[in-house]
Symmetry: C2
Subunit: 339 residues, 2 copies
DNA sequence: AAAGCTTTTGACACCGGTTTCCTTTTTCGC
DNA sequence: GCGAAAAAGGAAACCGGTGTCAAAAGCTTT
């Protein structure tokens, strides 16, 4: 059944089946108003010819195409790829395809670049990954361009419209509760970068949990990080060198948490005996460092799938939000503090 | 300059500029046969209207679209993403976009699925990442479907046609030479899975280096892995429990190498004092475990870029190959063996 | 058997570009 | 100033689908 250069068109099918283009079109689109006879007849020809409708022609006629876009500036490769898988999962057996577009958050022309991208590609809709998903101007741009969008994030944005979010805050609370339940009292925080919603949410969760248990969080128990390994290393160093050393550290992501592992090692502190550490993301590194890290995992793939489904859901264009539960993944970086 | 719902078309431009569609088309395509006058006049209208040609219409008329595909089944998220970035780099400022399509190597319907995908999307061309890029049937399929393709890989395939490859074999040789130069004699290998070209190349490089120095590689100095963390853990365990323990291990990728780190730790062996370890890939984990791992890095991003450029290069459809040098990234998991 | 419905089908315009081919205008040699 | 060649621009067809609307066919009903 090898192709002989050119693909058959709807005209070829129509001619061979002895019907009109329109009828073939009806068969393709499973129109109800068709006799069983013609349907089977046309389907036979389609099968014989190996006819597949030309997506570009369809897109033109329908004035919409079947391309979903993924806008991301996420430094975590695993997360991005998981989302891609989730989306692919959602659009399997549909005619949709997924176009990726990394964006550079720091570029001053970022918005213009994306505008050009959207103009040029005329996507059906886009998924926006955090942290760039927190950019309201971007969402606004999509709106302007008439491009559907769904934002993924770590919390519902106040004016959230089309959003798929996890519940970072509660999960961090749960993680810190876990530490407190084990007997930890001096628990330190390595924050994510200023201006990131996820960093904000995780910090708030941390502080809420501490406060709920009447525990104080002095300034020397808080370090500022930027989600990178080095900042975790430096931040943890700072925390561990403070006069009253914490017995546990929560880091706002795994990469910084793994920096904290190194900082501990450099000071001859053993994890978890001398220091408990909890990260966030459940990235591969969490499972692969020693000891395996307790961390908070969020269902990235599922969220990607849900976001894509929401995007391609027929009809329902109303604003809507969905929440996805994150989950504490207990491994071996946490223990009760030594008396 | 907000859009008012509908995008302007070539007709709108033509009407406003008082010229024919064709003339506008000429302007867009920078046709040479145009007076300077009309060109500037039309360009003014284009700018004023914010006109951008409809890609679907263009694709239909030109009988080819501007979509590149990325076929991959690579377990290493970082690698896949780097390639994506490289491709995006190459197609920046062109009208191309990148469509991703993870494939499941183990699915019996894999080839049919991809055929359907190619039929449906009519891509301009595809990049194929290893290890699936080693599948000749897949390349054959692309050929049949009239879809351009470039394969990426760890070595030139014998019948390689459109290929961008690194030089895994030589680089592993260099890495092992490095170990030998430091005084290691009992060097063990954790292999990648059977049937993977990269695993083959890396093994051959390893054996070649050992042989070149007259060093023996007994069976108990070779472990079979599958590129996963656990297999590295198990394989290294096996190697380290052998009667004559190796002083150094080369693992066919970083994930297995990090498994080897754990295996060492479980046996109270210190890296690099008691055991040197070298991995392959220069994945993020290599930099983030303790101690930071010496590994072989290959220029994934550059290769992705080159592959994309090759795909969209006008005219030249002749088979061609390019090689990209990998590089030994020295960190702290290697030291001279203890006397 | 004619009238009236419903179901099935086709002719034709259209989506927004490009290509082919032809006409009009300009330029230039003599 | 004239004819020919070159340059500039336009009309209409085309790419491969879908939407509209009316015609044709099939089925009741009286």
């Amino acid at each position: 059944m090898a192709k002989s250069g050119k693909n058959p068109t709807i005209n070829d099918v129509a001619r061979l089946a002895g019907v009109s283009k329109k009828t073939v079109s009806r068969v393709i689109n499973r129109s109800a108003l068709l006799s069983e006879d013609t349907r089977t007849k046309v389907e036979a020809v389609i099968g014989q010819l190996g006819y597949v409708p030309n997506p570009q022609a369809r897109a033109l006629a329908l004035r919409r195409n079947f391309l979903l876009g993924l806008l991301h500036d996420n430094p975590n490769a695993q997360t991005v790829l998981k989302v891609q898988e989730g989306v692919l999962d959602a659009i399997r057996d549909t005619e949709f395809a997924l176009v990726v577009r990394p964006v550079d958050r720091h570029s001053p022309t970022m918005l213009d670049d994306i505008r050009r991208f959207l103009e040029q590609q005329r996507l059906y809709g886009v998924l926006i990954l955090p942290p760039i998903s927190e950019n309201d101007a971007l969402a606004q741009l999509c709106l302007e361009m008439g491009c559907g969008y769904v934002r993924m994030g770590s919390a519902m944005l106040d004016d959230a419209d089309h959003m798929v979010a996890s519940n970072d805050r509660e999960m961090v609370e749960a993680a810190v509760d876990h530490l407190i339940a084990l007997g930890h009292r001096r628990i330190a925080l390595i924050e994510g970068p200023e201006g990131f919603r996820s960093a904000f949410e995780r910090r708030e969760g941390f502080l809420a949990a501490m406060q709920a248990h009447g525990l104080d969080v002095p300034p020397e128990a808080r370090a500022q990080g930027n989600y990178r390994f080095e900042s975790g290393l430096a931040g943890a160093g700072q925390l561990l060198d403070a006069p009253t050393r914490p017995t546990a550290i929560f880091a706002s992501n795994d990469e910084m948490a793994s920096g904290a592992f190194h900082a501990a090692r450099q000071r001859n502190l053993r994890v978890p005996d001398d220091l408990s550490i909890i990260g966030f993301d459940d990235s591969p590194i969490a499972a692969h460092i020693w000891p395996p890290m307790t961390t908070v995992g969020w269902p990235v793939r599922e969220m990607g799938r849900a976001a894509a489904l929401k995007l391609i859901a027929p009809g329902d264009k109303s604003a809507s939000q969905s929440r996805f539960p994150a989950q504490l993944v207990k491994r071996q970086s946490v223990a009760a503090p030594k008396a």
